[in-house]
């Protein structure tokens, strides 16, 4: 990216040395950050990359001398302008927060107080501790709103958090961080909770103010593609340790540690598209002119869609576009107001209660969050065994054998059968959810954002497994997702939804090849590219 002015000369804005932090889990303390050292020069941006649970946020918060309850620093130092934050009392740390080091949280929607106006929340640090008068602080806030391209900057601050969109709120939080002109900002996954199209806007805004204000930043994310647009340097974190650190270009083009290389797994996962599935298989499921509404709100309008036998259809769109509603209509959890759903050419009952067991068996659904979809108080054996009994009447030894077989199918060992969901990782839980769906021997599985709460590496593994299962079992997938990357890997056909309507349907190859529908164009352009300079290109393009 761009160069920092002579980074070697200036003193570091933050220097973390050999930091050890313990976390409390089930009443025992175990290290979650193990000897991390970091240092940033003024104006430098460090990308801190890793999976969830790697300790990224813990380190980010430690940069403000803040430890969540259930965490304690056991060794090391965090120096800001020479002061070790960990060795001074909380009362001395507090004045530095917001003034010298500021924090931008993952979800601005949760991190802004619903009870107060934005302006009040944004200026409070400046007025209380930044030595600014109220009018001064408000003027600076308005300037920041302008710099962050917020609408109606003069009156924007009068609104309450709920009166502002998610992307705007996230930028307002960046304004809040910048209000006292700190020398360092910690960005903790600031775009993760946003839709791709919104993410670009926020990324552009963040990039711009980082450059304009010359502030140093620790940018925490699990998405290498995002880091590639923002950071000068990248540190890769795993199990609380930095396993690789280097200049952005070097990490992007020449990752050395095997783990860093595996972070590219999904990006590198190319599929042999020669064996297009479902060609000539005939339509398994056809949705004909289906509309559905929540009260007055039209959630689906005139949706026409087909899923062929053994094919994967990806249903793409931003949150609120009606993807999940369509899934609910297909499974019979929600009644359409118009249109019908055909299964093998015969109409399906609209209500799940009126569908025969055999129909229920054929259509299974897997949810986004395996955490909430699996009963935490039953063993995996029971979870998978129940549909076996319900649909196939399997009992005793036959059922046990089938459970083992299904676990094997989702690449879990037999030993998992007696564990509880709480003892499994996110990826393992999602595999159990998949095994439970497979237990019915379904012909169609509706996958509702099933990989979006998983890390990239795990995501790639789960997708590969799904494709594998499709080859062996001939099952069809309706894959609901907002992640274009996933679509590229798994889909035979892509259906794009916006505001409850289908705006484009195409097979995957032609979907990714131009020309595109305008909305598809926007969607595709918003997906961060691994190559550095992608954001620069967008900014340049807009400037024209």
């Amino acid at each position: 990216m761009h160069d920092t002015a002579n980074p070697e000369a200036a003193a570091p804005v933050i220097e973390i040395r050999d930091l050890w932090i313990d976390g409390k889990l089930n009443e025992t303390w175990a290290p979650i950050v193990k000897g991390v050292s970091l240092s940033l020069r003024p104006g430098e941006v460090l990308g801190l990359v890793g999976e969830s649970g790697a300790g990224k946020s813990t380190i980010g918060l430690a940069a403000l001398g803040y430890l969540r309850s259930g965490a304690r620093a056991t060794a090391g130092s965090v120096r800001i302008d020479g002061t070790d934050l960990l060795s001074i009392p909380e009362a001395d740390r507090r004045p530095m927060r917001g003034t010298r080091v500021a924090y931008v949280a993952q979800s601005a929607q949760a991190a802004f107080n619903p009870a107060h106006r934005l302006m009040e929340q944004i200026t409070t640090v400046a007025v209380k501790r930044g030595g600014m008068r109220r009018e001064e602080a408000q003027k600076r806030a308005v300037d920041l709103f302008v710099a962050l391209q917020l609408p109606e900057p003069n009156t924007f601050g009068e609104r309450y958090p709920h009166q502002v969109s998610g992307g705007q709120l996230q930028r307002a939080m960046v304004a809040m961080a910048l209000i006292c002109n700190p020398s360092l900002i910690v960005f903790d996954e600031p775009t993760t909770a946003l839709d791709v199209t919104t993410q670009v806007e926020v990324l552009i805004a963040i990039r711009k103010v980082i450059e304009d204000f010359g502030v140093a930043a620790i940018y925490i994310t699990h998405d290498l593609a995002v880091v590639a647009q923002i950071a000068h340097r990248v540190a890769v974190l795993r199990f609380g340790e930095i396993i690789e650190e280097g200049a952005l270009d070097r990490i992007l083009n020449d990752p050395r540690h095997p783990y860093t290389q595996s972070l590219w797994a999904l990006h590198d996962m190319t599929l042999d598209k020669s064996d297009q599935h479902g060609q000539g298989g005939g339509a398994l499921l056809s949705i004909e002119s289906v509309s559905a509404r929540y009260g007055d709100f039209a959630a689906l309008t005139d949706v026409n869609l087909q899923v062929e036998k053994g094919a994967t259809v990806a249903l793409v769109g931003e949150s609120g576009s009606g993807k999940s509603t369509l899934g609910r209509v297909i499974t019979g959890l929600m009644e359409p107001s118009e249109g019908q759903i055909l299964w093998d050419g015969k109409p399906l009952a609209t209500k799940v209660q009126r569908r025969p067991l055999e129909t229920l068996r054929r259509i299974q659904i897997i949810y986004q969050s395996a955490d909430t979809a699996l009963n935490p108080r039953t063993t995996i054996r029971k979870i998978i065994g129940r549909p076996l009994k319900l649909y196939h009447g399997l009992r005793g030894k036959a059922r046990e054998a089938r459970v083992t077989e299904l676990l094997k199918m989702v690449e879990l060992s037999e030993a998992f059968a007696d564990r509880y969901p709480g003892q499994l990782s996110g990826g393992q839980k999602q595999r159990v959810a998949i095994a439970r769906a497979l237990a019915a021997n379904p012909e169609l599985i509706i996958c509702d954002e099933i990989t979006s709460s998983l890390d990239k590496v795990v995501q790639a593994e789960v997708l590969r497994m799904l494709l594998d299962l499709q080859d062996r079992l001939g099952v069809s997938y309706l894959f609901i997702t907002h992640d274009i990357e996933v679509v590229r890997v798994i889909a035979d056909r892509v259906v794009v939804m916006q505001n409850g309507r289908i705006v484009e349907q195409d097979d995957t190859a032609s979907f990714f090849a131009p020309p595109h529908e305008p909305y598809t164009e926007k969607l595709l352009a918003s997906v961060p590219d691994m190559a550095g300079g992608w954001l620069d290109a967008i900014i340049a393009q807009r400037a024209v």
Binding site: R97, T99, Y103, A105, A110, N113, A115, T124, R129, H162
Partner: protein
């Protein structure tokens, strides 16, 4: 923003309407159940040897021979006018319970004026110093206070303060002739008892309401902005905990009107609960009905106010998009 009616008004109007409907239903239930009670007032008054003719004449005089729905409408009409009709003893019901209601409201008001600010403050202190000795002291003692029945607390206080230390009178029988100062002095023991009973409940709920907000992301954000812990509680947490605090306060205020019967009996305080007990003893149905309706109205009214407060304290409703 202009011209569009704020959904707040329709919501509040809706709540008030629902409250009125609830009171109406409750009044119907009260009237019909009390009418269904076994035993006849006439038979009770006239004694076992009364002739059927005498009983019939007596009932006619009191209007008991009318169809019950007609009597219900008449009763409801007089209740709306604040009269509640005539008691079986011939005096207007309002003359019997009116002065006593004033006493009950006086006792409740004095207790509330002390209890509500004190409870909210203690709750905030507990939340502020969560897990520290002061929090443990308040939490444990409030748990203890909740665990004892109210009459037990009343007798313990009476034994210590009135019998052993002889500081306060054990009887709270206030009369019209007394000076207000004398009345207050006599009310100290019942007020203390009621304080112990309702404080605990409100303190614990205030503490819980604030703590549940304390785990939210915006509280962590406030700390990361360098806000002091006092400000985190008062400015960031408390405004978001007002709804639940208001509803527990409402419940306790309603208890002060309707639930103090036991305390009134223990301290011989001439409140409305006492008159209800007397009425039950005498089978004086109109008085029982009037008391029940007043108690129900207190509960519904206070909960209505709490509802409105929690609606108004929600910025999403107060400031719609």
């Amino acid at each position: 923003m202009t011209g569009k009616p704020n959904p707040l008004f329709s919501m509040i109007l809706g709540r008030i309407g629902l409250g009125l409907v609830s009171i109406l239903i409750v009044s119907l239930v009260i009237f019909s159940t009390v009418s269904l009670l076994p035993g006849s007032y006439a038979a009770a008054i006239l004694g076992q040897n009364a002739t059927p003719e005498a009983v019939a004449a007596f009932e006619e005089r009191l209007g008991l021979d009318q169809p019950w729905f007609w009597r219900y409408l008449q009763w409801l009409g007089s209740a709306v006018r604040g009269e509640f009709g005539l008691s079986f003893s011939g005096r207007p019901v309002i003359d019997i319970i009116g002065p006593r209601l004033v006493n009950t409201v006086l006792l409740a008001s004095i207790t509330a004026v002390i209890a509500v600010p004190l409870a909210v403050t203690l709750g905030i202190i507990c939340a502020r110093y969560r897990g520290r000795p002061i929090d443990r002291l308040i939490s444990t003692s409030s748990l203890a206070a909740i665990s004892f029945p109210e009459f037990f607390i009343a007798y313990v206080l009476m034994m210590i303060l009135a019998v052993q230390l002889q500081l306060l009178p054990s009887m709270a029988g206030i009369r019209d002739g007394m000076s207000f100062g004398e009345q207050l002095y006599r009310m100290i023991l019942p007020v203390l008892t009621l304080l112990m009973v309702i404080l605990a409940h409100m303190v614990r709920n205030t503490r819980a309401a604030i703590l549940s907000v304390m785990s939210s992301a915006y509280v962590e954000m406030a700390r990361l902005k360098g806000e002091s812990e006092d400000r985190v509680i008062m400015y960031h947490a408390l405004p978001n905990a007002i709804g639940p605090i208001a509803s527990v306060v409402a419940l306790n205020l309603a208890y002060l009107i309707a639930g103090v019967v036991v305390i009134e009996v223990v301290f011989v305080y001439p409140g409305v609960g006492q008159s209800m007990i007397d009425a039950v003893r005498n089978r004086d149905v109109p008085v029982i009905q009037a008391c029940a309706l007043i108690f129900a109205t207190a509960y519904i009214g206070f909960n209505l106010i709490a509802d409105v407060i929690s609606i108004v304290s929600n910025p999403r409703l107060l400031h719609p998009r």
